[in-house]
């Protein structure tokens, strides 16, 4: 079996609506929980943006350290963060 990283789908491939979690399973005892659960807002972001947020939090929210780490200029990193903030706000609006 190929060891490829699988992307969490958050948009319905058929109608483009936001997908919901309907089933969660335990790997140990194989219990399955069914219901309707909304994906957390952060989980709706692309993997690279989720990684950016994780690194940003780990760096205590310092854009300067982020810029050094990514080898980008300060305004470039700040613009990336602004784009993520905008997406989060849009996702929040869509959930309401």
């Amino acid at each position: 079996m190929l060891n490829t990283e699988r992307k969490l789908p958050d948009i319905c491939p058929s109608c483009s609506a936001a997908l919901q979690v309907t089933s969660l399973g335990c790997d140990v005892c194989e219990t399955t929980v069914s219901g309707k659960f909304q994906l957390p807002i952060l989980a709706r972001l692309p993997a690279d943006e989720q990684k950016f947020i994780v690194e940003f939090v780990k760096n205590s929210g310092s854009l300067k350290i982020m810029a050094q780490q990514l080898g980008l200029s300060y305004p470039t990193v700040r613009n990336l963060l602004d784009d993520i903030i905008l997406k989060l706000k849009e996702n929040e609006k869509a959930q309401i």
Binding site: S73, Y74, N79
Partner: protein, 184 residues
């Protein structure tokens, strides 16, 4: 390579861009003094008139300062992000680097010998070649504008064109005011 040529601000901005930009601007104005090249507008370059060194210094500062001031005001109107003045000042300074090529081209004798009533094909060809660094400067200024104040799309294009026209008007007007103080 393309990013470094047209959008180095992805990697360099703020204080670092300002220091590099000011160094290149100093080299440019020193070269311009010996080749009699005047940067008497935000995106202007004219060749021919001998003038005191201080005029070249003021021309550079006005050309750069006008852009910085207008971009900053544009940012306050157009941007919803928090932006830093030093990013605008730094990227606008670094964007002026292609003007060094124009200052060097100012040493070409044919450009000095050209008269308004007698412009030959060589002068026309050289003028077109000198347009390349000017276009490069405009491309760099556009990227400096969009990255520094974080604007995109139509807002960025319309805002940049308006800001550049205003910066050009401001810088040309200021140069007209100071030129009589240096050239009698």
């Amino acid at each position: 390579m393309k990013t470094w040529l047209f959008n180095p601000f992805t990697y360099i901005a703020g204080g670092r861009a300002l220091i590099i930009g000011l160094i290149v601007m100093t080299i440019t104005l020193s070269t311009a003094f010996y080749s009699n090249t005047h940067f008497d507008g935000a995106i202007d370059a004219h060749i021919g008139l001998q003038a005191p060194f201080l005029l070249y210094v003021f021309e550079q500062l006005i050309a750069w300062g006008s852009v910085v001031l207008i971009f900053f005001l544009a940012g306050m109107i157009l941007s919803s992000s928090r932006f830093r003045f030093i990013d605008i000042a730094g990227t606008a300074a670094l964007a002026r680097a292609p003007m060094l090529l124009v200052a060097i081209a100012g040493f070409i004798p044919a450009l000095h010998n050209a008269k308004p009533d007698h412009i030959d094909n060589t002068v026309i060809a050289l003028s077109f070649i000198m347009l390349i660094p000017i276009i490069w400067l405009i491309a760099l200024l556009y990227n400096a504008f969009t990255i520094s104040i974080n604007v995109k799309g139509t807002k960025a294009i319309a805002g940049f064109i308006t800001a550049l026209i205003l910066a050009e008007v401001l810088s040309v007007s200021l140069n007209h005011l100071i030129q009589p103080l240096f050239i009698k």
